[in-house]
Amino acid sequence: MNHEEQIILYAANQLDEQTRADFEKHLADCADCQADLIFWKSVADEIHASDSLVPAPAQLADSALEVIHQPNKLARALRSTGQLLRMQILIIHNELWIGSAALMFIFLAMALLVERVEVLYFFAPMIAAGTVTLIYGSENDPAAELTFATPISPWKVLLARLTLVSAYNVFLAGCATLVLLLIIPPQALGEFILGWLAPMTFLSALALMLSLWIGTGNALFIAYLLWSAQYASLISFGEWFAFASPWLETYRQFWQNPAMLFVFGFALIVFALWSSGRDQVQWRRSITM
């Protein structure tokens, strides 16, 4: 160990007894080492003085323990999702739950009465589309301004409500389907469910997207018009509509193609979620006016 090191360790009080004593003997005769020691001692003093004044924050151990006992990311995400969903149940109109259940009941009774499953095919998507147009925007949401003030982004709020309402719609239609097992053979069940689920998905997505951009009333009108148009040929319009029948046929096939309906439906939902945060959409415009 050279002298410079010894001086530093001496100033830092890290020499053992023996080395320390030996070094002090040397120090007595060495002016250079004395000067160096004074220098290192003032450095040590200054560092020690300033560091001792640093106060340790009081609550760090407890906040560290909080981090240590924090549930993992997945559990946290699930919990905050649960909170968001519960919050949205309170905000969505009560009438919506009761109304759509009542409508479903009426149409189910009608289907049983006439023994035609087509009644459900026709009305289940319409009920679903009707409900989703009512879940978002200042005209439907009494707490719309509050919704924008929360740190949760609009698309998450919209997705939460859409999830809740859609799940409810599927549940209602599913219940109706079970009752209709009275008049349909069990082996046709899968096809039957797809028969209303696919159009329901697309029509709901379309109605949701439209309701964001042009308002609930307009969205309902257009969605119902487009939906009913496929049944146009069921009613006889007369000879002079014949030229339109090939187009009508193509159009009707679209509504009977589950794959296409799902793909376009999900695309519309993504678009609706994206547009939920944009200024142009209906609810924001009506608030700023």
Partner: protein, 201 residues
Amino acid sequence: MQTADLAIHWNPQETQPAMTQPAEDLELIHRMQAGDDDAVRDLYAQFGQRLYAYALRLTNDPASAEDVTQNTLVTAWRTANKFRGEGRLIAWLLGIVHHTAMKAIRNTPQFLSEAEETIPEILPTPEEQAQVKEEKRWVRDGLQSLSAEHRAVLELIFYQGLSLNEAADVLKIPVGTVKSRLSYARQHLRGVLSRTEENWR
């Protein structure tokens, strides 16, 4: 100043942070491994000030120093089984502080330079209080003008009471580099001193 004066006025207990016994170190670690929350509180009560002081020197920002210290406790808890008692617990903990602080500084590249600018100017000492304070001032100024890596070596040895080898472990550099940093720090501070003395005359 005579050697005798140095020896007399040099009270080791004043300048040296309390050293812990290896047995106590291991007991704390075992309690953390066993999931004892109070071990974290005891650890913090015992070493918190020193860990926070070192974090503050490295980051120059109280908020990030708090984050670094908190993360150090969390890391110590999660990696308690890696501490086998070969060295002192404080050295191991300071190594975690150093690693965590460097990561934090890397993630905010502007941070160090900005923070250094915000260090308040030290008020000039009244002349009548003269040389003792003047001497302190140049040391303080000199220390602040040192780079973080040189300052870190001085902190570890003079405040934390680490040996050269322990400091090398904390900084993840060879002992030779620790020594050369000390030499550099001495040269640098001496340079500041001589300039100050010239101005003073």
